[in-house]
């Protein structure tokens, strides 16, 4: 009876340990936790053991896909999967953020690729490549036109009809279709996307959307999931004050 009396408290303790373990493992530097990430044309493999530190975020350069001023005091680096429904939702939130903070150059939004092959096989990777091809053929503004329109049209969650939506967007934004298709099938951006994935994992990303907010003094803040506008705004204000 004594043993049975203790079952609920013990269950709570076990659950607490389980959760605490998850949190500790996912945050500790050099931990043994492993996030699985896809690799280009190699199916799934285990990513290198991540440090899980947002300080590992690759520096923002002119090579990045940037909406807003690259010299903005606050930069939000988003690692996104174009087939993820939460990324679709967060894309709207970020556009709202840029409407308020982008116009006066306070925030720059940096878009990096984090296609989750396990959850959205084939499609997420191909959409990431498509966005890179749009960037190659039309530049940064066209990249954002492509991604904005894609997130607008996609039903997400692996339900996107790639054969319809991508050609439609390519035509809408006026890209050369044959050049685009050639780029899409070339595999030339696979390694670039893989670099983004590895960096997402290295910064602690375990799912999408995953963001790293960089303050004017270089302080980095992790932001996981499709957080509401108010939360992003609050974090931006905190970052802006970290001068």
């Amino acid at each position: 009876m004594e043993q049975q009396k203790l079952t609920v408290p013990i269950a709570i303790i076990i659950a607490g340990v389980l959760v605490a373990g998850a949190v500790i493992f996912s945050n500790s530097n050099g931990s043994n936790s492993v996030a699985q990430a896809p690799t280009d044309n190699q199916g799934e493999q285990q990513a290198p053991q991540p440090s899980g530190s947002t300080d590992a975020v690759n520096p923002v350069t002119a090579e990045d896909h940037i909406k807003g001023d690259i010299n903005a005091p606050v930069k939000i680096v988003e690692y996104s999967d174009m087939e993820c429904p939460f990324c679709k939702r967060f894309h709207d939130t970020m556009n709202q953020v840029m409407d308020e903070y982008g116009a006066d150059g306070q925030v720059a939004w940096v878009f990096r690729q984090f296609p989750l092959e396990q959850l959205h096989p084939v499609k997420a990777q191909r959409e990431a490549v498509a966005s890179e091809c749009a960037n190659e053929l039309g530049g940064n503004d066209v990249f954002w036109q492509f991604t904005d329109r894609f997130f607008e049209l996609t039903p997400s969650n692996n339900q996107t009809d790639l054969e319809t939506i991508i050609p439609q967007i390519v035509r809408e934004i006026g890209l050369n279709e044959s050049a685009f298709n050639e780029c899409l099938d070339s595999g030339k951006y696979d390694s670039h996307i893989e670099e983004d994935i590895q960096n997402a994992v290295a910064t602690g990303g375990r799912g999408t959307p995953w963001s790293v907010v960089i303050g004017p003094d270089g302080t980095t803040y992790p932001l996981s999931g499709a957080q509401p506008y108010e939360a992003v705004k609050q974090l931006i204000d905190i970052a802006l004050n970290s001068k």
């Binding site: 699985q36 396990q118 996981s224 499709a226």
Partner: protein, 180 residues
């Protein structure tokens, strides 16, 4: 069963206990994905207390943005049911002092653990689930589940409901020595 529930929750102490536990579980579930952010922000002395409080409250809104309708529903249900379960069990243990029989405690444990697997971030790539399955090298199993891992949360709700029903029945059953 209804009699058992009435007997327990007619006492305000158990209502307060249930609500308190439910709030803790809900808070944990909603804020869990951003534990690293909070662990960085909250101890910081350079950030105003009001900003910290505002950030926490704004993150609560993620129940609308960072959860599917299904996951938001079962997260709230798990919190409520877990609170009820703790109250019922506490009443059962401390008031009745009866011999605990049956499988209610087992279901409670199962519901809690399964529920915790199910809660966490419902974003693409669940938090705890990915971590645990990643340890055994089977993260891709999520993609084979019809609901992408939400099965764990639903299972948690089912087990917790079962635990509540069984415990409430036991509370309402007179303590007698059976003839057989």
């Amino acid at each position: 069963m209804i009699a058992g529930l009435y007997r327990v929750f007619s006492n305000p102490v158990y209502i307060v206990l249930s609500v308190g536990i439910a709030l803790v579980v809900f808070t944990f579930a909603v804020l869990l994905p951003n534990f690293p952010l909070l662990s960085q922000i909250l101890p910081s002395q350079s950030i105003e207390l009001s900003d910290k409080v505002s950030l926490i409250f704004s993150l609560f809104e993620s129940i609308q943005t960072n959860f599917t309708a299904v996951s938001a529903t079962y997260t709230i249900l798990i919190a409520i049911l877990f609170g009820m379960n703790v109250s019922l069990f506490t009443y059962f243990v401390y008031k009745q002092k009866a011999i605990i029989k049956g499988t209610n405690s087992v279901a409670g444990i199962g519901g809690l653990v399964s529920g915790i697997f199910g809660i966490g971030c419902a974003a693409c790539g669940t938090f705890i689930l990915t971590w645990v399955l990643g340890l055994i090298g089977a993260a891709s199993i999520i993609s084979f589940l019809p609901l992408g891992g939400e099965e764990f949360g639903i299972l948690g709700v089912v087990l917790l409901v079962y635990a509540v029903v069984v415990t409430a029945k036991k509370i309402s059953t007179p303590q007698v020595c059976a003839i057989d």
